[in-house]
């Protein structure tokens, strides 16, 4: 029944997206708006189909319908409700279902937003491309990753339950959906970029149409990655939050190219330049999401997250190939038209800073991509096995990251076109002095590690530069409007939400950079064996083992060690890291217990559970500034939301309708309707 409903949903999805693609293609060929309108209506059927399938799956999970193989494999009667619901994304087939639902959601929003512009071939083409992607995923699900496959033979009385790691922390409910909202969201700018290439209108129209969606997708991806790091920190118990695991890298790759795009798009908007570059970045971002899915879901790489399902590999690889070949062929075909007018006047200008930013971000993406696929290439070419891990990535990404911090400080102070030396001196002197002072202080009092000293100094440089820029803008508005500080600040931010939202995101990035640098230089880790009543001291923290207790539920059996944590004479509380065994897994899963502090965390894990004499081995780690990674992530989310806000101008002297063409772009074929251009 539930399986039938789900399969009906998938079949409906295949049908509706195929019909939609067909109608849109026919409508575009015959220039028939009625056909396009009919094609657009298919989008809603696709959404309904995806909703139906997801509903069927959730129903099956909640009612423990073990006749469905996916449910039998990823759910058990003892699984708590939360993890029953999150079972939808606990394995490959279900996560494709979630993917399809989110994709259908994005396409529906697209179809609604552009309902009045259906006669515009750009919109019709974009819908067609997006529906084609949806069609692929529905067919993929129907043929290779069917979540509603029934179990062979007798229906089991109880299911196997989700992977223990996936039913150990509530963050599981948020991290994958956020990541998918980001991943899938890049389909929309991809569709519009393809449409721009097909229709030959590479002006700024498609950028304006997709600016908001791109930012939304980017924001979700950012939050998804940070939540993933947090989950890793709270669940995996090795004390870190980023291990350069192939799956983590796969989520980082589109983020890097997406970030490059968000920056370089500003150059195209202001100066009409970098058209091919921006198109390529969007196309690359989408292809990287597919590559990431392929790498992590086909079992070619070993990873904590990999689902190891090699039968789906060829499907994703073929789709990736089709996407890449289509993109490159379109660019090659349109090459003669793509050359943009305009030039960059000076190496010291905002444009050049954006170019440098893009070079560094694509460089980072290249490092991460190479490090991730290199072991595969080495094995295929030479048959020998190599590993590329944390030490490689740390060595390669640190200099690029430091260069980006430097740019982050300097770029907002650079004017467009060309900068005079005087302007720069005036704008950057105070921030530079602050940065140098912090470098000196770090060296004198904290550490002599080069990367950390530089990171702290550059971070200060960037923060002070951001605050200086903002303070000056607020001050000038304040004197102009005769308003208070608070109102002027709000007014300034709302007057240019993209700039100040961007600044907030930058502050978040700086927090994370500082935290990363600190965690690399400070901290301590020790493993100790304690009998009941014994204590150990690490970096001034005293940990006393007071006893164990065992809790047993249908989901798991946990043994936790009660550890009293004290610093100096102050008792900070009792923490209980645990080791849990799950009925469906042979190895024990440790759950760390963390005392979070502003500057350092105390990270406690049980290494081996109590032996027959009641002795436990625990690991005590002091991690530096981890909290600031999460704070940074939150700031990045807030900044994205601010940047999405509408621009509220101070005074309207000229009505917006009177002018529409920025001077720097003489050719602009496709102006969106008014109102969309500014706020979209």
């Amino acid at each position: 029944m539930r399986a039938g409903l789900g399969i009906l949903g998938i079949a409906l999805g295949v049908g509706a997206s195929a019909v939609g693609v067909f109608l849109l293609a026919l409508g575009l060929k015959r220039r028939n708006v009625e056909l396009i309108r009919a094609g657009r209506r298919c989008v809603f059927v696709v959404l309904a189909a995806a909703l139906l399938s997801v509903f069927a799956m959730e129903w099956a999970l909640i009612s423990h319908d073990f006749s469905i193989k996916y449910v039998a494999d990823n759910n058990a009667r003892g699984t708590p409700l939360l993890f029953t619901i999150t079972g939808l994304w606990a394995a490959l087939e279900g996560s494709i279902l979630l993917w399809v639902l989110i994709l259908a959601g994005y396409i529906t929003v697209m179809a609604r937003r552009f309902r009045s512009r259906l006669e515009d071939p750009m919109v019709a083409w974009a819908l067609l491309v997006a529906l084609s992607v949806a069609l692929f995923f529905f067919v993929f699900m129907a043929a290779a990753a069917n979540p509603f496959k029934l179990v062979d033979g007798t229906i089991p009385l109880d299911g196997r339950g989700p992977n223990p790691l996936l039913q150990n922390h509530p963050l599981m409910a948020f991290h994958p959906p956020m990541l998918y909202l980001g991943y899938v969201g890049f389909t929309v700018p991809f569709a519009f970029a393809m449409a721009a290439l097909i229709t030959g209108r590479f002006g700024e129209g498609w950028l304006a149409d997709t600016r908001r969606t791109t930012l939304v997708a980017w924001g979700f991806l950012t939050v998804g990655i940070i939540l993933g790091a947090w989950w890793s920190y709270e669940v995996l118990g090795w004390g870190g939050y980023w291990g350069w695991d192939p799956v983590e890298n796969a989520s980082l790759l589109p983020w890097l190219t997406g970030t490059a795009f968000i920056h370089s798009v500003i150059v195209q908007e202001r100066r009409g330049m970098l058209r091919v570059w921006n198109l390529s970045l969007v196309l690359a971002t989408f292809c990287l999401t597919i590559l990431g899915t392929f790498l992590t879901r086909s079992g070619v790489v070993n990873s904590v997250h990999a689902f190891t399902q090699s039968s789906i590999g060829p499907w994703l690889l073929t789709f990736l190939g089709v996407c890449v070949v289509t993109c490159l062929a379109l660019i090659a075909w349109r090459a003669d038209k793509l050359h943009a007018p305009g030039r960059i006047d000076s190496p010291v200008s905002r444009e050049s800073a954006f170019l440098a930013n893009n070079l560094l971000f694509t460089g980072l993406a290249f490092v991460v991509l190479l490090g991730t696929v290199f072991p595969l290439v080495a094995e295929a070419v030479r048959g020998n096995q190599l590993s590329v891990g944390e030490p490689y990535f740390a060595r390669m990404t640190t200099p690029i990251g430091l260069a980006l911090l430097f740019l982050m400080a300097v770029a907002p102070a650079l004017p467009w076109r060309a900068a005079g030396g005087e302007v720069l001196r005036r704008r950057l002197l105070i921030p530079a002095y602050a940065g140098a002072a912090v470098m000196l202080l770090t060296l004198l009092f904290l550490t002599s590690t080069l990367a950390t000293v530089l990171a702290f100094g550059l971070a200060t440089f960037a923060v002070v530069a951001i605050f200086r820029e903002t303070a000056l803008a607020v001050r000038s508005r304040r004197s102009g409007d005769h308003a208070g500080w608070v109102r002027s600040t709000i007014g300034t931010v709302r007057g240019n939400p993209r700039r100040y939202g961007g600044f907030i995101v930058h502050l978040g990035v700086i927090c994370i950079a500082v935290a990363l640098a600190a965690s690399g230089s400070f901290g301590a880790k020790r493993e100790v064996r304690l009998h009941r009543g014994e204590s150990a001291t690490v970096s001034g923290y005293t940990v006393t083992f007071t006893g164990t207790h065992t809790s047993k539920t249908a989901q798991k059996t946990s043994v936790s060690a009660d550890l009293k944590l004290a610093r100096g004479g102050d008792v900070l509380g009792t923490y209980a890291p645990a080791v849990s065994t799950f009925p469906n897994s042979d190895s024990a899963i440790g759950t760390p217990s963390v005392r979070t502090g502003i500057l350092e965390d105390v990270y406690l894990t049980v290494v081996s559970s109590p032996n027959d004499k009641g002795r436990v081995t625990i690991s005590i780690a002091i991690n530096s500034m981890t909290l600031w990674v999460w704070i940074g992530g939150a700031l990045m989310a807030v900044g994205t939301i601010v940047a999405l806000g509408p621009t509220v101008r101070r005074r309207i002297r000229v009505r917006a309708g009177d002018v529409a063409r920025p001077a720097a772009e003489p050719v602009r074929e496709d102006l969106p309707p008014l109102g969309e251009e500014v706020g979209v």
């Binding site: 091919v276 090699s310 690889l317 990736l320 890449v324 490159l328 062929a329 090659a332 295929a380 032996n611």
Partner: protein
């Protein structure tokens, strides 16, 4: 160079095609293939000294001149349970044969769990705890179960990662004795 983008796109396309072929090749292969054979094969077996359940030492020296099967295992690993019957039946057959010996070395487990497993599952061959995981490290183990066959001359002649079957055990012993 009239349209540089065309050439750049084609160059990138060629690069991506190569990568795609490479990825397609690896889709079918096992990601950790070389971890299926031990690098010890053909070399002198590392000397080991483990502690039996009642605290007595079991050392490699005591097996000199014999063919020894060293089995790394523990109580919680499911493949170890799967191979239990194969080991039992092999040992039942060869227990009185002076030219062969079997020793189980515990990897990543607690004494408590091993003791109860040995009692419940009637493990009759010598089992040793590996203090400081020294033997596991010296053999270069990557997990459990892993079985090594050491010939009478002290060379490692065969290894098996993953559960063994009676046939595999017989083969390993035959190989060890054939080469001696």
């Amino acid at each position: 160079m009239k349209h540089p983008f065309r050439w750049i796109a084609l160059a990138v396309g060629a690069g991506v095609c190569v990568l795609a072929v490479v990825l397609a090749l690896t889709v079918s292969s096992d990601p950790h293939q070389d971890s299926n054979t031990s690098r010890l094969v053909g070399k002198t077996a590392p000397a080991f000294s483990v502690q039996s359940l009642d605290g007595k030492p079991i050392t490699s020296g005591s097996f000199a001149g014999k063919t020894v099967l060293v089995n790394f295992w523990n109580s919680w690993c499911i493949p170890c349970r799967q191979e239990h019957d194969a080991l039992s039946s092999w040992y039942a057959e060869h227990r009185n044969d002076p030219s062969v010996a079997l020793v189980g070395i515990v990897r990543e487990d607690t004494k408590q769990a091993v003791r109860s497993y040995v009692k419940d599952e009637k493990v009759t061959w010598p089992v040793g705890f590996d203090p400081g995981a020294k033997a596991a490290l010296d053999f270069g183990t990557r997990g459990q179960p892993e079985t090594y066959a050491i010939g009478p001359d002290g060379l490692v002649v065969a290894s098996k990662f993953g559960p063994v079957t009676p046939q595999v055990l017989d083969q390993m012993v035959a190989f060890a004795q054939g080469t001696s």
